[in-house]
Amino acid sequence: MTELFRRIAAIIRTDILFRFRRTAAVVTLLLVAAAVYFIVPDVSTGRTLIQIDGRRVLYNSAAVALSTAMFCALFLSLIGYYLVSNSFRRDIVSRMGFIIAAAPISNTEYVVGKFFGNMLYLLAVMLACMLSAMVMFLIRGEGSLQPLVFLGIYSTLVIPSILFSSATALAFEALPVLSGRVGDVLYFFVWAAMLGLPASLVETASGPEWLRALDIIGFIPTIELLQKQFHTTTMSIGASSFNAVRPPILFPGVDWSWSLIGQRASTLVLPAIGLIGARTWFHRFNPTRIKSSFHHAKRNLLSRINVALKPVARFSQRFEFIGRKRTSLANAVWADAVATLALSPATTIAIVVFAILSLFIDASALLGGVIPAIVVALVIALADIATRDQSASMLNLLFTAPKLKAQYVIWKFMSALVVTLCFTLIPIVRLVFDNPSVALSLLVGSCFVAGGAIGLGVLARSQKLFIALYLMLLYIALNAPNVSSFDFAGFSARATTGVHAGYTLLTILLVLGAHIRYSVLVRRS
């Protein structure tokens, strides 16, 4: 038994060492701390953390802990997945998996070790968030700091999210069909459904009790707690405006009951199912069940679709001739864009389908349905443009081509933009006649998506950050249609000139940031 624990402990320790020695871990913790700074607004700005019937809830320990913990749960249930969803893959790519497979360690020990490794990393992110919230409390709080209140609320609300992300990431990785980009995108929709379901349960006050077990984020108990204590349904959590004339109210704290604890405990069923799935599907690095490198990975769903559609790639290659007589960078941009289509024939099919839909569908369906669907398709299509050359060890080969080494980020951005415009050009042209401002939004949005794919891909050296952030932004944009600042591609036709300028600036910053980071890396190598 001792030996079993020692083996599991070794896996956990190695995972922790590996992750915390990466710059990305430090950056993540700093970003979390920075996010908490913005989540807890200064009340003198007219915004507050929790607003009940227009009244501000006092910043006591319970209120600050509850609201920041909810954001932490929300964050870790989504981003947490992307932060840890490379546990098995890392061992496959490094071929360490073969050594582990030949060692006297059981599948259960390995999967459990990886699960705890994931969990502890996300737990560290939670602690960083909680400590930052306490610091913010010391700066902006009203009352005495009660660390145990923070700890109790964070543990109850956030830990189910951590367990869910940790287990689901392993389950998705273990199942070849979901182990790639399709899994990454699918997880976002699973998360969105889990977010929407509790909200509808609270709104309709109906539905079977067991559905509460899907409320990983703790939305239902939080809302019910506030409703019970303040006898109202008009409330908001998160930086929102309040009526400064009306006196603030006190949130007395969480009423710890067996019902609340039972409800939170019931949410552990999903992580348990995920963990059992991961253990059941775990391939033990058997080469007949996995492919040992990125280059040969054909078992996931997207790769299978692309293999089936390979004849379509010949169609896209017919366009190679267009670049032949141009200057070398333009030529390279075109070649890379054609390569994207050739690598993923499903993208070509999607472009044709969206083009037809964009021509014939009515304007409201175009904005509310087709353009969001295009953004999802773009997230899948563009995600690996910035990282695929490095994964395939192609960088040095590419750098022998004229201008590419010095202008790598620009080249990739332009190539991603060409692919993006293949999707959006027809909708843009149509919207120029219907609603020129929305056409401009879509054009700006096209640059923003292409810039994000390359900028975040180069900065994070992974496609996951781009997928997570852009899908989350899309989710927010579609669920907050009245907030013009989120309308990055014209979904709600509310974007102003300021919004256009803002997203253009963000695009420039992303590409510039990536260029600087890339230049530093090249100089070091």
Binding site: A10, R13, T14, R22, V93, S94, F98, A101, P104
Partner: protein, 287 residues
């Protein structure tokens, strides 16, 4: 020690990687030779319990390794092809990790192994900063951490410079005493230096199994040397398996592996191991 009986591995796409392979192995260094795609890696992965045979059995000390893999896993050291490391771990941390997975928790053992592979001065350096040769040496150290009875190394010298290759061969030679070391490669000189027994694979099948001396003997009388005019050399190369060719003023001095005298003025010469290997691979199924 290790018995392989009629092992076949067929992939889901119908490709047969290993076909009806049988071999009995005892202590010593087995050089597993074969051209690329011969099935060496798949065979080694089956012995290492990473994948299972489609049919046939592999017995370790008379125990079926498919039914009870942990028996061999406790006594196994494995260095896969293109071995990578966790780049953020130091050499000592990396070895401690693999040791823990194999039930070894002795810090002294870690340092001893680092010394064996001449990495003791780099124990606290991140493995990600190691050269290819240093990584391979770290790889062999991790394969030895549990003092295994069987050591499997798959193409360990690929990509190493000549000096590192010699150093690596010496390590393998040292550890081969009292253990079964299976060294898979297509570089004949690696095997020549250390192997006590050689198995040659081609297209998934075992085409020869013998000591290096026997393998050399089997090729005797089948290797020829001739001087051919430069303009006839290309034709000659297309027609026969040439093991070596040197351009000189009087023509191309060529060594040919063939059962019969290829040209009238060719004279028989003593084969080397590379030629014996070429002979074994090419004579299989033709005799």
């Amino acid at each position: 020690m290790l018995e392989i009986h009629n092992v076949t591995k067929r992939f889901s796409n119908g490709v047969v990687a290993v076909a009806d392979f049988s071999l009995k192995l005892e202590k010593g260094v087995l050089g597993l030779l074969g051209p690329n795609g011969a099935g060496k890696t798949t065979l080694m992965q089956m012995i290492a319990t990473i994948t299972v045979p489609t049919s046939g059995t592999i017995l370790y000390r008379e125990q079926d390794i498919v039914r009870s893999p942990d028996g061999i896993r406790r006594q196994l050291g494995y260095l896969p092809q293109d071995f990578g490391v966790y780049d953020n771990l130091t050499a000592a941390e990396f070895l401690s990790y693999i040791g823990a997975l194999k039930g070894v928790h002795d810090r002294k053992k870690v340092m001893e192994l680092l010394e064996l592979v001449n990495l003791h001065t780099e124990a606290n350096r991140l493995a990600g900063t190691f050269s290819g040769g240093m990584r391979q040496r770290l790889g062999i150290a991790q394969a030895l951490i549990n003092d295994p009875d069987i050591v499997i190394v798959d193409e360990p010298t690929a990509g190493l410079d000549p000096e590192e290759r010699v150093r690596f061969r010496n390590i393998l030679s040292d550890i081969g005493v009292g253990k079964l070391v299976i060294l898979s490669t297509h570089i004949v000189s690696d095997v020549e230096a250390v192997a006590t027994h050689i198995a040659v694979m081609n297209q998934g099948r075992l085409v020869a199994s013998a000591s290096p001396e026997q393998l050399l003997r089997s090729a005797q009388g089948n290797v020829w040397e001739a001087i051919v005019p430069s303009d006839r050399f290309d034709d000659m190369r297309m027609k026969y398996k040439t093991s070596r060719a040197v351009r000189r003023p009087d023509g191309v001095h060529v060594r040919i592996v063939h059962r019969e005298r290829p040209v009238a003025d060719a004279s028989p010469v003593e084969p080397d191991l590379e030629e014996a290997f070429i002979f074994a691979v090419n004579s299989h199924g033709k005799s």
